[in-house]
């Protein structure tokens, strides 16, 4: 038994090490100087750790830029927040309502519609960029944060609807009947009974959608216009230059900085995440 335990922890430890080592590389690289990176191995610890690269990634390097922006991530952090909050609320909210309507209010064709909607989960957004541009243009919101938010809602709704529909399908019918008899209509049943019930799955949907939206690059680049460029575009401007000289420590620091909000969400919500999934996503 003792050996079994030892093997168990051994295996878990190895797995954890494998999962963590790339993250370790990012952090340690971001703390090194460029000379050390040019001459050393990526696995070594920084000889003289410093946060210069982090500062440069966050504030930019004003000496080297054109002036009105210093090219750091700080300028677009707020833009990202401005995009992610409404996009998250709308895509999750609409998914919750749609999933609820499809699961609870049996209507003719509800299953067909759900099936049709699911396809959206599998379409690579990049592949249908042009028609989307044309549509958003015709709506008159191209190049605005509003347009970008709509795009995120479009590409998020299939996933969120699926999460919520599958969860609401597991809610006992009696509960719905009781609420109907108590006089709750469509919205009040949703608001007072179903939404509070769905908190765990709401958490999971929010976390995953947050990750998708926060990490999006191409949609932000295309639809955000001049004012709506999210942090990932700024990140790309820092790290994605093809013909300029590379500063890997800044690249890594910038990457870490961009990932920090999502990282924090996962660190803080690990337990909630599993519980949320247990509550809905895997019940059948």
């Amino acid at each position: 038994m003792q050996y079994n335990r030892l093997a168990l922890y051994g295996l878990l430890g190895i797995a954890a090490l494998m999962v963590l080592s790339p993250v370790f590389i990012m952090v340690s690289t971001s703390l090194k100087s460029m000379d050390e990176i040019r001459n050393g191995s990526i696995f070594t610890l920084p000889a003289d750790p410093g946060f210069a690269a982090w500062g440069k990634a966050w504030f930019g390097d004003c000496a080297k830029t054109l002036g009105d922006k210093c090219g750091g991530l700080s300028s677009s952090f707020l833009t990202s927040v401005k995009i992610v909050i409404p996009a998250l609320a709308l895509s999750v909210g609409l998914g919750a309502i749609t999933g609820y309507a499809l699961a609870v209010w049996k209507m003719k064709g509800a299953n067909l519609m759900f099936a049709a909607l699911l396809v959206g989960m599998f379409i690579p957004p990049q592949v249908t960029l042009y028609p989307l541009i044309i549509m958003i243009r015709e709506l008159g919101i191209f190049g605005s944060i509003g347009g970008l938010i709509l795009v995120h809602v479009i590409w998020g709704i299939a996933f969120t609807t699926m999460m919520f529909r599958n969860f609401f399908k597991t809610v006992p019918q009696d509960l719905l009947k009781a609420a109907r008899i108590d006089g709750a209509g469509f919205w009040r049943l949703f608001w007072h009974v179903m939404l509070p019930l769905s908190l765990p799955i709401l958490g999971v949907a929010m976390i995953l959608q947050f990750t998708y939206i926060w990490n999006d690059f191409l949609l932000g680049l295309t639809f955000g216009g001049r004012s709506g460029q999210p942090m990932t575009v700024a990140l790309n401007n820092l790290v994605g230059s093809q013909f300029g000289e590379k500063e890997y420590n800044v690249d890594m620091a910038a990457t870490m900085l961009t990932a920090l909000p999502t990282l924090a969400v996962y660190l803080l919500s690990g337990r909630l995440f599993v519980r949320g999934i247990a509550a809905g996503a895997v019940k059948g």
Partner: protein
């Protein structure tokens, strides 16, 4: 009871009186329905229409029949990409399932510091595919990464150079992809394991069945739905795989690790081949529908059969 277990709230017949909640429910579906029809299917149709034209940089509506499809099917890179999609799909989904399930089992064995391990395994989920690609490009680079590090430790013949080998590069996509998504799969499996009736464990303990057999023959079949959910979520990721290839291998060496989504985007945005790209996109979308329709069929049939309590 005579009513099907899948009762739901049925609409009343007729409509003499006040506004009915069922009508509100229909109204509430309008946004989602609009998105589905206009964006998902409208875009697919648009893509098909464009694939019949000679559009290059911008959409033009000069039709050329199925020329673009002939060009597409004559294109070696397209076939490589499609073949890679199949390979990557099998490896990535299979790998996520296998490793996700194993990690979940290990964590479920009543260990200390469960929360720590769980968090660690879910950490990569917070990274974007771009970031994942960038990191793993480093790690797998033979001159910089793992190979060099192991050789520096004294194992001079150690080889891990898949990312630079055309015949192996596609596997590196799966490695990085699994690294990123294994946490989600683990969480799903863990949740499934937690939902299993503890009496099952008591029963198998009484029967003296070895633990591994219990997992293999008892628990795994019980987690069918979880496997299914994992399959669906991961196959959605495979179908959409784009960022990861761009960041990890750039489709290379050559185009040995290209995937259809990248092929399409490359041709539409960089190569003035909108028509050809659209043809590729349409084939890809058809593949998507072909792959997921059994799922949808299964899902809806399962519900028609009822899940009564």
């Amino acid at each position: 009871m005579a009513e099907p277990a899948q009762g739901g709230l049925k609409p009343s017949q007729g409509g003499r009186r006040r506004w009915r909640p069922q009508w509100t429910a229909r109204m509430a579906l309008i946004p989602a329905m609009t998105i589905t029809i206009v964006c998902f299917y409208g875009f697919i149709i648009w893509t098909f229409v464009i694939s019949l034209t000679r559009s290059r940089l911008l959409p033009v509506y000069k039709f050329t029949g199925f020329d673009q499809y002939f060009r597409l099917f004559a294109n070696e890179r397209w076939w490589t990409a499609m073949q890679n999609l199949a390979i990557h799909g099998v490896l990535f989904i299979g790998g996520c399932m296998l490793f996700g399930y194993l990690l979940a089992i290990l964590i479920d064995r009543g260990i200390k510091a469960e929360g720590l391990f769980r968090t660690v395994f879910m950490l990569p989920l917070s990274m974007s595919f771009i970031v994942t690609g960038v990191i793993w490009q480093w790690v797998m680079n033979p001159g910089l990464g793992l190979q060099e590090a192991v050789r520096a430790l004294g194992w001079a013949s150690f080889e891990f150079n898949w990312i630079v080998r055309p015949d192996r590069s596609i596997y590196t996509l799966a490695i990085a992809g699994i690294w990123q998504q294994v946490g989600l799969c683990m969480a799903l499996f863990l949740a499934g394991l937690r939902n299993i009736d503890p009496n099952i464990w008591k029963a198998t303990r009484v029967d003296g069945i070895p633990v591994w057999r219990v997992y293999l023959h008892v628990i795994t079949p019980m987690l069918r739905t979880v496997f299914f959910t994992v399959f669906i979520l991961m196959s959605a990721i495979v179908m959409k795989a784009f960022d990861l290839v761009v960041a990890l291998t750039g489709g290379g060496p050559g185009f040995s690790s290209d995937l259809p989504a990248r092929f399409v985007v490359d041709h539409i945005l960089n190569r003035q081949e909108l028509g050809l790209g659209a043809a590729g996109a349409f084939v890809l979308l058809c593949t998507v529908i072909a792959v997921i329709s059994p799922y949808i069929h299964f899902e809806l049939r399962k519900e028609r059969g009822g899940r009564g309590h």
